[in-house]
């Protein structure tokens, strides 16, 4: 993968670049602010950009705006936003602005390097990645409480993984069940929640997220 990193803390930026490089990825640029990020994306047209939410000048949500702008102007570049704090609200609005090729993760997730690179790959491939914590909050927020109460515990597990952006195969591997059983659960979930069924993994993910967030 060709990757651009935007993170204002040098130690984090360099560490991430080194690890990604050691895993055989091509970090074409590592920058520290939104303007440099947009410049680097324009120049390199990478597969994916890893973006810290808090960047200069105000250190609030510059990264979110930059990510939305990149998704709008560079369809070939996925964006993975990572944040020191989870804001499900912000994640949901980022996803509703740009539904595919988008990820939102808690910054801590970089500690599990392989999982993080896996998420990065999914985003680069046009998939969607949502932090488990965001999904947990959306599930607990109380929207659609009655409909969600009708799901079996297993179906809730499947829905949570689905909303994190996992494919059927990945869900099957995580829950130690066969892809066929996952398929059955997904069909049942979509039926109970009144969502239109779909064969496309990513479209199902989006449907699930949109359902939980609105």
């Amino acid at each position: 993968m060709r990757i651009v990193i935007a993170e204002d803390a040098a130690i984090m930026r360099d560490g991430l670049a080194a690890i990604l490089a050691s895993r055989g990825h091509d970090v074409v640029a590592a920058v520290g602010d939104p303007d440099a990020l947009l410049g680097a994306v324009t120049e390199h047209q990478p597969d994916v950009a890893v973006i810290d939410v808090r960047m200069p000048p105000t250190h609030t949500d510059e990264g979110l705006h930059a990510a939305a702008a990149i998704r709008r102007d560079f369809p070939g570049t996925g964006v993975l936003v990572f944040s020191q704090y989870i804001e499900a609200h912000a994640a949901a609005s980022l996803l509703s602005a740009a539904p595919a090729g988008v990820g939102y993760l808690l910054k801590d997730r970089v500690a599990d390097v392989s999982d993080f690179i896996d998420a990065l790959t999914r985003v680069a491939d046009g998939g969607t990645v949502l932090d488990p914590e965001v999904v947990a909050r959306l599930l607990a927020a109380g929207r659609h409480r009655d409909a969600l109460a009708e799901l079996t515990p297993r179906e809730r597990d499947v829905l949570a993984l689905l909303a994190q952006g996992r494919s059927n195969a990945a869900i099957a591997a995580t829950l130690f069940i066969s892809p066929k059983v996952v398929e059955k659960h997904v069909a049942s979930i979509f039926d109970k929640l009144g969502l239109a069924p779909s064969d496309n993994d990513n479209r199902r993910v989006l449907a699930a997220i949109r359902y939980l967030a609105t």
């Binding site: 250190h59 949500d61 704090y85 970089v110």
Partner: protein, 401 residues
């Protein structure tokens, strides 16, 4: 500065207040000048004696504010001596050196000073003394002239003069007391305003400091710890694929897990110090807050202008405390948080839940802490929580500390 005629008397008064003996000494000199004709009395020794009496009267005037009672005592003694010996009252010869002069106006001045500066008890005694003295003087004077009409006139004139002097001094004392109390009240009002200003400064500064601490944690410890956790994660994954020495993988895993746990703890700590979402305003911050409550919260925020950071922090932490109360203690199933602008740029936070009610402010409890925090900016908290619910807590805050 341009000359401003209205300031001249003010400055003169200020000077007179600042230099009482000098100012009163000038008045004494003027009075002394009124009796210079005494110097023409012969022989010279008598003239000198008369001049001494008048000089003592003038000196008493000079000291009227420095040593009021002593100066009054001196003029009283001199005046009584004049009243008794200055006239041919009892058939004997009048003592020339003790004949009254214009300088005796000093007695009037001293009576007024006594009334203005001493307790009423003392000044009334002084007035009585003056009236008695003037009675004696008039008796001696009338004895010499034996005129009933002049006698009456003299009685009226002298007693009226002394009484007027006393009234003048006494009213000056009242005015001064009133002025002092006004000054005191003004000073206390100024002190109050000063305290309010410094307190507001302290509250805003402390909010800014907390924000800085969170920022420092984010840029410093949290970043380093994340980088450390990432490196440990990389070590763990590298080791797990190889024939590493026994126990290394377990140690790496343990270190990796500890780093991640510490990171989570540090994040909670930093958020408790200052939620970073608050930098973008109450709307995103309260949204982020309600996300973690795990129950349906409806949020309704309509504010015209952002309050100061300290006020925003109080609104946020109040909402957090009340939300936690509704979840933990009241067993509520729904919470409504409303934030509205009020007059003069203030905000009103209302948190309503459908829980069990019966919320009480107890010493050391969460609500007491909340009330204290709200009080630091002169805000008000109103709790309506009948047993059985619902609970509605309303907090009114100014736009800034």
């Amino acid at each position: 500065m341009t000359a401003y005629p209205g300031r001249v008397p003010q400055q003169a008064y200020a000077w007179a207040r600042g230099h009482p003996v000098m100012a009163d000494g000038l008045l004494g000199l003027v009075l002394l000048a009124c009796s210079t004709d005494q110097l023409r009395i012969s022989p010279v020794t008598t003239a000198l004696a008369a001049a001494t009496v008048n000089a003592l009267l003038a000196l008493a005037v000079a000291l009227r504010r420095r040593a009021t009672v002593a100066a009054f005592g001196m003029v009283a003694v001199l005046g009584l001596a004049q009243a008794v010996f200055g006239f041919r009252a009892y058939g004997g010869a009048a003592v020339p050196a003790l004949q009254p002069t214009m300088t005796d106006a000093a007695i009037v001045v001293l009576l007024a000073a006594l009334a203005a500066r001493r307790p009423r008890r003392e000044s009334l005694a002084g007035l009585a003394l003056c009236l008695v003295g003037s009675g004696i003087a008039i008796y001696g004077w009338a004895f010499a002239r034996s005129s009933a009409g002049l006698l009456l006139l003299a009685v009226v004139a002298l007693s009226a003069t002394f009484t007027a002097a006393w009234v003048l001094g006494d009213s000056a004392a009242l005015r001064r007391a009133r002025y002092l109390s006004l000054e005191e009240r003004l000073a206390s009002a100024e002190r109050t305003a000063d305290l309010a200003r410094t307190r507001a400064q302290a509250v805003e500064e402390s909010a800014a400091r907390l924000r800085r601490i969170e920022r420092d944690l984010h840029d410093g410890a949290q970043v380093r710890l994340t980088a450390l956790a990432m490196t440990l994660g990389e070590i763990k994954e590298t080791v797990s694929g190889q024939a590493a020495p026994a126990g290394v993988l377990a140690l790496a895993s343990q270190a990796h897990q500890t780093a991640k746990d510490t990171l989570a703890e540090l994040r909670d700590l930093a958020r408790g110090i200052h939620p970073p979402a608050l930098d973008r305003g109450l709307d995103p911050a309260l949204h982020a807050l309600t996300e973690t409550s795990g129950m349906p919260v409806s949020l309704d925020i309509v504010i015209a202008a952002r309050p100061s950071p300290a006020i925003e922090a109080i609104v946020y932490f109040s909402a957090a405390e009340l939300l936690a109360n509704a979840t933990k203690h009241a067993g509520a199933s729904r919470v409504t948080i409303t934030v509205r602008s009020t007059g003069q740029g203030g905000v009103r936070l209302t948190v309503a839940d459908d829980g069990a009610g019966g919320a009480l402010v107890t010493d050391g409890g969460g609500l007491a802490g909340l009330r204290e925090r709200v009080g630091t900016v002169d805000g008000h908290m109103c709790i309506d929580s009948p047993a059985g619910g619902p609970t509605i807590v309303t907090i009114d805050l100014p736009g800034h500390a």
